[in-house]
Structures are given as C-alpha cells and as structure tokens.
C-alpha cells in the first residue's frame, strides 16, 4: 500500500473530519475544527432564526450553535448518544458550532481524489457542497466553509418568503 502511494501522485494531502447526517457522509477540512463536544443543553435565544439552536460556552466565549439539518431542510435533529456539536473556526469570523448526527472518522484525501463536481442541484444540500471525495469506503461530500457561515445563513433566511 505504501509502495503504491509512492508511485501514485494524489496531489496535496488534506485531512478531513467526516461527519454524518443519516447515512450521508460529509467532510470538513480539519483546520477549521476548533473542538468537538458532546451534545448538551444550549441556551435558547428567544426570537432567533429557527436554525439557531442557542448558544454554548466554549472556554468563556459565547458560541452560537446551528442546526445544519434545518439549514439543509432535512428532518429535525434527533438527539442520540452519537450526536455531537462540531465547533468551527472560520478564517476571519467568530467561532460557531454545528450539530451533527455523528462524527465518523478522520480521512486524508489528496487533491486529486476530490472532484469539484456540483452535486445534483435538486438535492437540498447542493449549496453546501463544494466537491465530492472518493475513498475506499465510498463517497464523501466536502462541505464548503463559506456556505456554512452564519453570514450566509442569515442571507438565506432573509431570502425565504
């Protein structure tokens, strides 16, 4: 296997955290992950947008927690023992968290293993995915950090009727 890797140039290697919503797998570059915490009680913000589940105390910082299931118009989050909150650190914005069904694994993918295809636009998550990675166990949709941002969420909210 190692020998094989030496001969096949996979391009720049990036590590991803693979998360799951139902059976669907999504990857987020590991550099954006600040922390992973188990699902816990968040403080509800009255009159906030539906996707904003509340705020959480991360090392003394007030961090908003977002439901991606609501943003991607999937079924509501069902809290299980596997449910986690992924705390993300965008390049130039404050920390925020997203609720995920489960954290699957850490995956290293070379740039050439990712196809920058736009997924089927009829899929609800189409706007959040920037490419599709292939690995031994199948496919993983790479999430677009910009699309995850609260700023974008805010705009979506405004555009909805």
């Amino acid at each position: 296997m190692d020998a094989l890797r030496d001969t096949v140039d996979l391009g720049e290697q990036v590590q991803y955290i693979v998360i799951k919503y139902g059976d669907e797998k999504y990857g987020i570059p590991i550099k954006y992950i600040d922390n992973i915490v188990k699902m816990q009680q968040v403080t509800r913000i009255p009159k906030a947008d539906a996707f904003l589940k509340g705020v959480l105390n991360i090392r003394g910082e007030i961090v908003p927690v977002v439901s991606m299931r609501i943003r991607m118009e999937m079924e509501e989050d069902e809290i299980t023992d596997n449910t986690c909150i992924l705390i993300l650190r965008p390049d130039d914005a404050d920390l925020f968290g997203i609720i995920v069904d489960a954290v699957d694994r850490v995956l290293t993918l070379g740039a050439k293993q990712i196809e920058n295809v736009k997924p089927d636009p009829t899929r609800k998550d189409a706007n959040f995915v920037s490419g599709v990675g292939k690995y031994e166990e199948g496919l993983v949709s790479i999430l677009d950090m910009d699309a995850l941002s609260l700023e974008r969420a805010e705009n979506e909210q405004r555009q909805r009727p």
């Binding site: 009680q41 403080t43 509800r44 913000i45 009255p46 009159k47 906030a48 947008d49 904003l52 705020v55 959480l56 105390n57 003394g60 910082e61 007030i62 908003p64 404050d94 609260l150 700023e151 969420a153 805010e154």
Partner: protein, 718 residues
C-alpha cells in the same frame, strides 16, 4: 535615526501641546496681557518645533517656528495681541493640527506648506515696526538656550562629575571587580541632555544603545527603568565595562543629537562606595574627567551669534532655576502610558476571575458536606476572595477611567467659531470636566456631545432681535454639566434659547411619515418632542453647515444606546431645552438581578431596577387594552416576560405575581417573571452579530456552573 518607536509619544505630546495652544490663545483673546498665557503658548510652540524637528517633520517645524517667533516678540512686549491676530493664530493651530492628523494616519506630515499662514505670521512680526527688533527676537531664544545649561547642574557647589558619586549595589561592585581582574576598564560617564530636548528618554536610549556596542553597561543612575519612563532631570550617569577608552565612549555618546555635554573618566572600582557602606566611607578619588566638552547645539545658538556657554558658576544656576520654575511644565504626576489593549487584557482576566469565583461559590453551595465547621471556613474564605476580586475589579476599572476633560476641551473653541459663523453671540459654560468615565466611553461620547452643542447653538439660541424682544441677555447661554450619579454619569447639555415647539415637531413628523396623523393626535407634548429622536428626522428648516446634514438626533440616540446609556430631553418653549445623557460608569462588569422565566435564567441590570413588587392578579387593570397596575399612585404598564421570551410560565395564574419594576428616565414598566434568584456580579459578553436579533437582549453572561444566561435590556422593554 529610527524614530518609529517614538511616534506614539510624539503624537500624544503634540496633541497635548495643541490643546494648550488652543486654550491659551482663546484665553489670550480675553486677556491680551496675560503673561502666563503668552509664556504657555511660546513654550508649547517651542516644544512642538523641537519635537517636529527631531521626528523630521520639516513643515510642521517651520510653522511652529514662526508661531514661536511671534510669541517671542509678544513676550518682549513688541507686539500687542488683537482679535485679528487671534484668528490667524487659531488658523495656524488648525494647520498644525492638520499636520498631526496626517501624521497620525500616514506617518507623513503631508505636503501643505501653509505659506499664507507663514506670511501672515511674518506680517504680524513686520507690523511691529522697525527692522531692528528682528535680531532681538532671534537672540531671545538663543539667550534662553544659553541659560538652559546653566540651570541644569544638580549640585552647582560641587563640580566633580556626578558619575564619581554613584553608589553601587554590592553585586554590581563584585561584577565590576571581576571585569577589572579580566583586564577590562570601567568607565564612569555623566551625560547631560539639553534642556530644550523634548524626547529625553529617546536620547538616553540612543546613548545606551551606542555604548552597548562597545561594552556592557553595569549600572546607571537613575535606573534604566526610570530613564525609559523619563523620570530623570537632564542628566544621568552610568558605568560602562569596556575595552575602549573614555574618549571613545564620550564620542559615541556625543554622536547623539541634543546631548549637551558628556563627562567621562575611569571609574575607581576599588574605592567605590556601595549602598551598604556608611556615609562615612572615604570619598572616592575621582579620576579627572577625561573629556569635558560642550556641544553647542542649541538650535537657535547655531543660527545666530554663538553665545558662549561657560562653565557653571555656582550662583547662576540658583537664579536661573528660580526664574525658570514658574515657567516650566507643571509638576508632572508619576505616570506610565499604557496601551489600552493591555488594559483590556487585564480586564478580561479580571472577568475570568470573577466567573471562576462565581463558579467556586456555586460549587461550594452544592457540595455542602454536613461538616458545619468546614463549611463555614470555606464560606469565610470565599467571602474574602469575593472582597478581593471586587476590589481588583474596581482598581482595574479606575485605571481605565479618564476625565471627560479630554473630550470636552475642544468645545469652547467650537462655540467660539460658531459665534462668528452664525453671528449670534453665545457663551459656553462647562462644569464637571473632571468627571471620570471608562476610556472607551469617553472616546465615543465626543461626537454625540458635539452634535447636541451644535444643535443648541444652531437651533436653540435665538437671533439677537428675538432675544432682546423676549428680554433675555444678548449673549446666549449654552451649558454642559457633567456629574456622577450612583453608577452612572450624567451629562446635561442645554441652552436658554427658544426651546422646542412640540406642535412644529408633530407636524414635521407627520409630514416626514414618522407618525400617522391619528397616532400624532394621542401623543402628549413630551412624546411629540421625543419624536425628534426618530430616525430620519431633522428640524432645521434650512440645511445649514452647523447641523442638519441628514444625521440627526437618532444618531445621537443610537450612539448613546450602544454605550448602554440613554438620552432624554426636557424643554420649555421660549425658555430653553436641556438634553440629558445618562451613561453607565463601566461597561464590562455589572451587578444584576438573576430571574427565572419559563425555566430559563435571565439577568436584569440592577441599575435599571426600581423595585420588586408582589402583585395580586386581581389588581391588574386594563387601560387601552394593555395590562397595568397602580404603584404608589403611578400607573405602571406590565410586560409578561414569558410572552416576550416565547416560553411557558411555570406559575399558577391565580397566584400572586413577581413583578420587577424597571425604569428608563421617567418611564417605568413592570416585568412579570416567574422566580427571583438573587443578585450576582456578572460579566457582559457580546452575543455576536448574527445571534442577537432581539432588541431586548443586550448580551450574555456565563454563570458559575458554566451555563449561559442572557441579559435583558429593560430599556427596550419599556
């Protein structure tokens, strides 16, 4: 020379000098003969010239030089101050301000030569008549430069250099003796800096830097820390361990500009006194100063006939000093300039400490062991910790407090200018300039205050004819009073002018579509006046240069509210108006009442709470479909917090209700909550741009157990 690291100092000092110029020139207009003022202006201009020169800002140096020249003549009684001159001088100050502003932004003074101003200043000097005066004028600063060194010697009765008398720490002495054994030389030096030098610490730093290239500085007197903080007179002594000669060291020190003279010689380590030895120890046999040279670099002395700077005579310094003292800078407090960011960092740490303390309290309460002795001992320690953290918090807050003065001091000048441009005589009186507030608030509050003052000048004070008709004095009175009231600072701004016509405001509001005619009809007079604060409202009939440029009182209001403050206005038609701004003393940490609504915890700032009432549901009345109660004769509207917060109350509707009465100015409201939890010192944390949409939330705080509670803003609920 790399001046970058002194830019901050330069700008700070330049701003102080500019303010001094502004104030003094204004005062001079009132009292043209006031010699303190004249001296102050001369000194400020002189210092700025020196500083600008050092930093390489030639244009600024040139302009301040000319101002200085004019005041040199004024000081000598050759020119009399008149109103035109004051105008020219104020324009010059503005021009210098423009240089400073440019430097602040780009580190460059810009290219404006201000030739017309320099010419105007030259004309002022020329008008005094006779060319003969010019040399005298130039000689004056030169004479001063000559006098300066004389005044400097700390101890005129003893002319052995100061370095021979330094006292060594025993450890330093050992270190020196080591070095001597190694065959190195110990050179003692005393460096005198010119009296006119503005950045003394910078000069000293450069001397140290230069000397460190040839050796090691074993000690200095005063200490390097004091020198860095500019806590020294015009000279300092040091011991240098080196292999070079005293002559070489002298040369290096003298390469730094504005060094008046350097004395150096070999230091006799063996006979040096240590700090531990008694006074009676034998006097050191001081090596004769190897070099005692003077640098005649006083800026003026070079240009004109060099004035001989002779060796200090014992009598002259005393006289010189006596004469110079009153003219010198006021006794400076021992202060350190600290970057506001460092204070913010300390503040954050104090905040964390308070959170940790709160969590300790909650842990201690839940971990009640049953051992009452241990519990009460823990309780005692916690109380002690609580006292210490509270005091620490107060101290840090005090460090961040600055007097309002810095913001207020530009206003008299502004009103003077408005006097002329509006053609209405008016006068500004200010009190309470020394009221202190958090630095961030002081920085932010300037614009709203300026807006209100301009408003008073423009719309408040009537035209002269009208004032006479109404039997008011010709000069319009504008005032600004600042004072502390409990945990708030109140700033009142007002005038004895026209007052606000509620009818005019109402009609204007209808015209602008701020309210509908139906809504307007039920408004009280005060509510009409309050429409002024509505967005998009400006009452000036003509858009003037002074106010009414589209930005209106709504901007003032939102600015004040962003600082957690409030603004209100009281007015009487024909008699004047008073605007009242109430601001919290501190921003980050407040006392709050913790309450529970629908099982969730919320904090209400204690400042805004008037009382807590136990209300029987039967006492609730309906007024225009809104629930109210009567409290001590006042009708108080009720707000059901569970409805505002979209959750379910846990209380039985037939039970008595807990009502927290909050106030905002004269208005009040009763917030119906489920449960009281008690008082807590909380640290306010921002909720973030995308998180906090509801106006009634002003932030969040972290409780002792790490849970987050939201902070309610009662102002938005009234």
């Amino acid at each position: 020379m790399d001046t970058g690291q002194y830019l901050g100092v330069f700008l700070d000092e330049a701003k102080e000098h500019l303010q001094a110029l502004n104030d003094s020139i204004m005062q001079l207009e009132e009292e043209p003969e006031n010699s303190d003022c004249i001296n102050e202006i001369f000194r400020a201009a002189h210092s700025m010239k020196g500083m600008a020169g050092t930093m390489g800002y030639k244009r600024m140096q040139d302009l301040t030089h000319h101002i200085e020249d004019v005041f040199s003549d004024v000081r000598n009684g050759e020119i009399k101050i008149n109103s035109d001159m004051v105008d020219t001088l104020l324009q010059c100050v503005d021009a210098v301000q423009a240089y400073v502003d440019n430097i602040t932004e780009t580190q460059d003074e810009g290219t404006e030569e201000n030739e017309h101003l320099i010419k105007a200043l030259a004309d002022i000097r020329a008008s005094k008549g006779g060319g003969g005066a010019a040399p005298t004028a130039e000689a004056a600063p030169a004479a001063e430069a000559a006098a300066a060194p004389e005044a400097e010697m700390a101890d005129p009765s003893d002319d052995s250099p100061a370095w021979t008398k330094v006292r060594l720490e025993p450890t330093v002495k050992e270190n020196l003796e080591e070095s001597v054994k190694e065959g190195k030389k110990v050179i003692g030096m005393t460096v005198h800096i010119l009296d006119s030098c503005v950045l003394k610490a910078a000069r000293a730093f450069l001397v140290f830097k230069g000397l460190e290239e040839i050796g090691e500085i074993a000690m200095s007197e005063p200490s390097t820390q004091d020198i860095e903080d500019e806590r020294f007179d015009n000279s300092f002594s040091l011991l240098l361990i080196t292999e070079e000669t005293p002559e070489r060291a002298t040369e290096i020190a003298k390469d730094v500009s504005e060094i008046e003279k350097v004395e150096a010689g070999e230091f006799d380590v063996a006979n040096a006194k240590t700090t531990e030895e008694e006074e009676a120890a034998p006097a050191p046999t001081a090596a004769a100063p190897a070099a005692e040279e003077k640098k005649e670099e006083a800026p003026k002395a070079e240009e004109t006939k060099p004035v001989p700077v002779e060796k200090q005579t014992p009598a002259a310094p005393a006289a010189g000093q006596g004469a110079k003292k009153p003219a010198g800078k006021p006794v400076v407090n021992r202060t350190v300039r600290v970057d506001i960011e460092k204070l913010d960092a300390i503040m954050n740490q104090v905040s964390e400490l308070i959170i940790a303390k709160n969590s300790l309290i909650s842990t201690a309460n839940s971990a009640n062991t049953g051992n009452s002795a241990a519990t009460s001992a823990i309780q005692e320690k916690i109380e002690y910790l609580e006292n210490v953290t509270t005091e620490l918090h107060e101290s840090v807050m005090k460090v961040r407090m600055v007097p309002l003065e810095n913001t207020l001091q530009k206003f008299p000048r502004m009103i003077r200018d408005l006097n002329k441009s509006l053609g209405k005589p008016m006068e500004l009186t200010m009190t309470g300039e020394d009221t202190e507030m958090d630095r961030t608030v002081v920085d932010e509050i300037g614009d709203p205050l300026m807006h209100l003052l301009r408003n008073s000048a423009d719309h408040g004070i009537e035209e002269l004819e009208l004032r006479r008709e109404r039997g008011k004095p010709d000069t319009g009175e504008i005032f600004l009073h600042a004072y502390q009231d409990g945990n708030s600072v109140i700033i009142e701004i007002g005038d004895d002018g026209n007052g606000i016509d509620a009818e005019v405001v109402k009609n204007k509001a209808i015209e602008k579509g701020v309210v509908t005619p139906e809504q307007a009809n039920v408004l009280t007079e005060q509510q009409c006046v309050d429409l002024l604060f509505a967005p998009g409202f400006s009452t000036a009939k003509v858009i003037s240069e002074i106010s009414g440029r589209g930005v209106g009182l709504d901007v003032v209001k939102s600015k004040v509210e962003s600082l957690n403050g409030e603004v209100s206005v009281k007015t009487k038609l024909g008699e004047g108006s008073t605007w009242t701004i109430r601001l919290p003393l501190t921003l980050a940490i407040i006392q709050a009442l913790m309450v529970v609504v629908g099982g969730e915890k919320y904090a209400i700032p204690l400042d805004s709470i008037q009382s807590i009432e136990d209300v029987d549901p039967a006492d609730i009345k309906l007024v225009s479909n809104k629930e109210v109660i009567t409290l001590r004769g006042n009708v108080c509207p009720l707000v059901r917090m569970n409805e505002v917060l979209d959750n379910e109350t846990t209380r039985d509707p037939n039970e008595n209700m807990v009502v927290v009465v909050v106030r905002k100015g004269d208005q009040q409201a009763g917030l119906i909550i489920d449960e009281l939890m008690g008082q807590l010192e909380i640290v306010i944390k921002p909720l973030g741009k995308y998180t906090s949409k509801a106006r009634f939330l002003s932030g969040a705080t972290i409780l002792g157990d790490g849970e987050i509670a939201l902070i309610l803003d009662p102002n938005a609920l009234i």
